[in-house]
Symmetry: none
Subunit: 205 residues, 4 copies
């Protein structure tokens, strides 16, 4: 009943930052296989520690996801605000915002996958919080489109919502095919995608 246990912290182990190793492993695995299909054990193993160590740093699988998720959204918002505040014609600001989000999404491909796929896995409370921020992002982006529309540089159709859903679908999809080691750099891809977006929006003749 009161049995002696001879376990505990092992004599040493290498020093590297275990927390970071866990986050990195989680990003890769959640990104590649999805949240639901990745087990805590998978992550711990990939990070070279035991499950117990993971729970030393994160109180739940959900919290680990949130730790990855939340700053990503903040990055996107910060990047968008930068573009918004540029001194340039509306259409150029829009182009910048579009190429930036593609560039960062291609660069951080696993995080991008997690970002688009795993929202529903968060706790209700955290989902609400994230949705609020996502809506804010969406509205900021929509305002860019409206600005460009008002100065006549792009056409009036379709609605900003559809444009955004169209474009962000393409961004989201990067995770399925884009390879950073391939011939196209994230920056180039950003330009190609932004170009595609703008061409789709400008009035022909």
């Amino acid at each position: 009943m009161t049995q002696q246990r001879r376990i505990g912290r092992p004599p040493a182990a290498d020093d590297r930052d275990v927390r970071n190793a866990l986050v990195d492993a989680a990003i890769e695995l959640f990104g590649k296989s999805g949240y639901a299909s990745t087990s805590i054990q998978d992550i711990a193993t990939a990070a070279g520690v035991t499950k117990g160590a993971l729970y030393h740093y994160f109180t739940s699988k959900d919290e680990l996801l949130y730790t990855i998720y939340a700053p990503e959204l903040q990055n996107h918002i910060a990047l968008l605000l930068e573009a918004l505040q540029m001194e340039a014609p509306a259409i150029d600001r829009l182009r910048k915002a579009a190429s930036d989000i593609v560039e960062i999404s291609a660069t951080r491909i696993h995080r991008t996958a997690i970002f688009f796929e795993s929202l529903s896995q968060l706790s209700e409370a955290r989902q609400r919080e994230i949705r609020r921020e996502r809506r804010r992002y969406h509205e900021l982006f929509a305002s860019l489109i409206k600005d460009a529309r008002e100065d006549g540089s792009i056409r009036a159709e379709p609605s900003p919502d559809i444009v955004i859903d169209f474009f962000f679908g393409a961004v989201h999809y990067l995770r399925t095919w884009y390879d950073i080691k391939g011939p196209i750099s994230p920056t180039e891809l950003g330009e190609i995608y932004a170009d595609f977006l703008i061409r789709g929006l400008v009035d022909d003749r």
Copy 2:
């Protein structure tokens, strides 16, 4: 009031359509929650039968997924072949192919979600088979783009692969926002998206 007793096979009701009920339930649940997050029990309950019944019709969860998955891909290919064989300028065939895939994806939104998300859940053998077919679809679509390019109706850049990945990202993403009961019909959406694609491809000036 002598009550009829029915032993053995339960009351009947829908009778033979248990299989269909199971497939419908699976489509909805896989589509909404994802394959990994949907349990066999969820599906059986939604279809109003027991797990045992499900295993009477399908040998595994994987097979149920495949049953949903495979014909969808065949539909897509058939639709694409139709567009390819149209008697019309390349650019019109391309436009048709694009609007068709959007229309069908918006109409069958849960299947679309499954189609894009659940490939990796199939058995290795089935994945290989599906990937082969998907590649075929991709190449057929690419050939449409090349045709339009050759007759000079669209510009030479970017590569067909990128165009396809861009566009199909947008299609895939429909599952996250499109509501068939909303103001835009699948057909209208098909036109909007196809228009966007073509505008992105035609040479400016």
Copy 3:
């Protein structure tokens, strides 16, 4: 990823009622070691099945506890109501109620232990329900004491609440020492305890 499993229901097994076996095992183990110290595995093993079987019958450990707990309280209340409705002087009804609860508690010693010890382990909702019923029991018992007091057969002190807590402490404690195979039968013990109670209550001289 989609790995074949070769497990499931075993070829036969003996027919006896597994659900009852599980409940019996749980009663014994919860009663002897307490709810917190008894694992689901312990119960399943004692019942000769696997954990999975247990979860086929009960959705949680909490529900298993409740399944044991709730009817016990109902038994106690029914027994008490019987005594209350007897045609006899108040003091005799009180004596009967007291000896009955001792008798049943001694007979069902593990359930008694669970009854007194495990309330706090139930879910909040179930605790509220049980507490309401327990309070009802307490008040019915108190009314017996008041009746006897009003006809002058017992003294006015101490308050019924204290008397009840005093006496039920003794009942509760049976689980720590009473052995049904020992020299004292539950019925005899009921008489001894009831006698003790009544003597403590009657006016001296």
Copy 4:
């Protein structure tokens, strides 16, 4: 504003009383929630230190329990010996012993809970030791009853063992309802309980 840096030992504050803080926290938590349901982490947190600190003072959870448990039993025995050695009629010594144990149990309610509930959680060796001491307590108490019986001041039935189990059940149960901030002081309660005991024992006529 050169800020003092304190490396190593934290700021001090209570300083040496960490051990006491741990014991106090453990008493409260074991008493309220039970040994099995209280974690080492709970105790450390309640005491405002880390688990490591706890293990600095106690080699195991079991030892912490024993540290609380053992002196309590010694207190009880000491108190009982005092009553035994009083110069007074046997029945008065019995009454004193009874009211004393009630008073101390009501005063130290969490310890009382631990005392009666957690014996089985100790290691085998310690259980043996405690059981020996408990038996000694029991026999001393029984001798008091026998003394009173021999001088004819109480009746011959029931056996001292049953009387003790009856009475100590009531004492044990205090933990479930007694509130030291309520209207009854421990001393008053001691008198009420002792009175109840003696009344139950004296010969009627």
